[in-house]
């Protein structure tokens, strides 16, 4: 992890390479997109998830891992088709099911969703509403206004 003038830079491993930039949505628990996210609205609909009702659309989704159903590939591909998918997905461990959904969408619609694995301690450097930029393996995090106003707590140690 390095800190530059523009924010914190993290080195991940792109499973689906691409470019994206936008505010982060950090999930507190793993999410199965199937049964957990409505591709028509981009909202979380898993009643067991602490962030039920949150919207992934327009956000860089940061989560520990996918979970549960293998139909999540279809849901991600459909969300990419409809434009409701996250801008990018950052995971603590690789998830083949999500990668497949992104690859198939790329094949069918020439549109995809970058997916990057970040080591667990690095993912902790990102909080909801931080601005995250994804360039292939490289992630830049600019802490949100609210976080940067907290005295003595630089991004990455929150």
């Amino acid at each position: 992890m390095t800190r530059s003038g523009r924010g914190v830079e993290l080195e991940g491993r792109a499973l689906v390479a691409g470019e994206a930039a936008g505010p982060a949505l950090v999930l507190e628990a793993p999410l199965s997109l199937w049964g957990g996210m409505d591709p028509h609205t981009g909202r979380l609909c898993d009643h067991h998830h602490p962030q039920l009702g949150a919207t992934v659309t327009g956000h860089v989704l940061v989560m520990p891992s996918g979970r549960g159903s293998s139909s999540s590939s279809s849901v991600l591909a459909e969300a990419i088709r409809l434009g409701t998918a996250p801008l990018a997905i950052l995971l603590a461990e690789p998830d083949e099911i999500l990668v497949l959904g992104a690859l198939v969408a790329g094949y069918l619609y020439a549109r995809t969703c970058p997916i990057v694995v970040l080591p667990g301690d690095h993912a902790g450097a990102i909080a909801t509403d931080d601005r995250v930029e994804v360039h292939g393996d490289l992630i830049t995090v600019v802490r949100s206004q609210a976080r940067s106003e907290e005295p003595g707590r630089p991004a990455g140690e929150a």
Binding site: S69, S70, S71, S74, E78, R81, E96, L100, G101, L103
Partner: protein
């Protein structure tokens, strides 16, 4: 990754664009999993036939249009429509049309019209040590755990690619070392009375899955020879609350004659002592707040699809009594099981009692329920886990007996004796 000559030929497009794309995706998944090579599979089970939107249909029709055909025997999971009872579907005609096109595309690629999430109930099923490419999380757990066959956790898109190429990455649960039990759940503290109850098994699966995540769990301390329906319930629940693809049940599943063998003679990461309170907590997690006191509108059983033995228990518990007129009672199953219960004379008595049979699909993945405003009871942990998100209903998890008594009385009936002291 080492590829065979025929893998390379497919990749180069020697057999057309469909098998080229399928091989590309199989190879991509192999790279991601760090596989050294691909291996043959003897059968496939496809989950991609359930309609989730245009993307899945576009993929299937693209493959079909490019000349795709499966090269190993391939069964189909539940779809969105009950083709034998088409009026059960209450969604819009446009969705029904797209869902039907999806089903037709997979059949046209050479898949068998089994339409069941319990392919292990079909007469021909994989044997011990056989490599297969199965999708559908409960079928995966059953194949690995109960049959001792070997499948990784395949899902939409890659399932049909494996069927088209007959190849999968040598990775995940195909590898002996990845099948080693890691987390032990010791159930010896549970009272014998609870071990005798069918309802224990989905609840046990739920709590095992929730604590296991991606680890391989081992259940130790159950009496030997747990029947297949109970093992099915454990696996389906564990694969819903966790990413479980294999659960060893010591004394019942083929790779776990003893705890030491389930652990491949290693040490577990942790031993969890399962208490009655944990089982009760699992039941409460699978029951919506306030639901037991609310108006009962439905009962749903058969997730995963009901077996002949489970129908036998349902017929016995109903004992000729009709379902309350204000309760919709659905039992989901496969066509092949439907034919068998019809031959046994059970279908007529169930229909006379007001039980509505659903085949080819399942009530929690498609639009079938007439009333979703009240509370629905189920004996399935998987139904209870997914239905609130998919259908917007509130649920009560109960034993099959509790479900039947509730259906007959038209209100949620709980067997307090079952839960006393837990």
């Amino acid at each position: 990754m080492r590829l065979s000559d025929s893998d390379r030929a497919l990749l180069a497009g020697a057999e057309g664009p469909a098998s080229q794309l399928a091989m590309r995706l199989v190879v991509e998944m192999g790279r991601l999993a760090g596989a050294a090579e691909l291996i043959d599979v003897s059968s496939a089970h496809i989950d991609g036939c359930l309609y989730h939107g245009q993307a899945g249909l576009d993929f299937a029709e693209r493959l079909l249009g490019d000349g795709a055909a499966v090269r190993v025997p391939t069964t189909l999971n539940v779809a969105s429509l009950d083709l034998l009872h088409p009026r059960r579907f209450r969604g819009d005609p446009e969705t029904a049309g797209a869902a039907r096109r999806l089903m037709d595309a997979y059949v046209a690629m050479g898949c068998r019209q089994t339409w069941t999430c319990a392919p292990y109930q079909l007469p021909e099923r994989p044997g011990f040590g056989e490599h297969v490419a199965w999708a559908e999380s409960n079928a995966i757990v059953f194949a690995n755990s109960v049959l001792g066959a070997r499948t990784a956790r395949y899902g939409d898109f890659i399932d049909i690619c494996a069927a088209i190429t007959g190849r999968v990455p040598k990775a995940g649960l195909h590898l002996t070392g990845r099948r080693r039990g890691q987390l032990v759940f010791d159930v010896r503290a549970l009272p014998d009375g609870l071990l005798d109850q069918d309802v224990l098994y989905p609840l046990l699966g739920h709590l095992v899955g929730a604590r296991s995540g991606r680890l391989v769990p081992v259940v130790d301390g159950l009496p030997a020879g747990v029947d297949e329906d109970r093992l099915k319930a454990v696996g389906a629940a564990a694969a819903s609350s966790g990413e479980v693809g294999l659960v060893h049940v010591v004394g019942s599943t083929p790779e776990a004659p003893t705890l030491a063998e389930a652990l491949q003679h290693g040490q577990p990461l942790e031993v969890v002592e399962v208490t009655p309170a944990m089982v009760r907590a699992a039941r409460d997690q699978l029951t919506s707040a306030g639901a037991p006191e609310a108006r009962l509108v439905g009962v749903n059983v058969g997730t995963p699809h009901f077996s002949v033995a489970e129908f036998g228990r349902l017929v016995a518990l109903l004992a000729g009594r009709p379902v309350h007129p204000e309760v919709e009672f659905y039992a989901s199953t496969g066509r092949h099981i439907l034919a068998r219960i019809e031959a046994l004379g059970w279908l007529a008595s169930l229909e006379a009692a007001g039980v509505r049979l659903v085949v080819d699909t399942c009530t929690y993945v498609t639009s079938i329920l007439e009333d979703t405003a009240g509370v629905v009871m189920t004996s399935s942990a998987k139904w209870a886990w997914y239905a609130p998100g998919n259908l917007g209903v509130r649920v009560v998890l109960g034993s099959l007996r509790e479900c039947v008594e509730s259906a007959v009385e038209g209100r949620v009936v709980r067997d307090d004796a079952l839960w006393a002291g837990s």
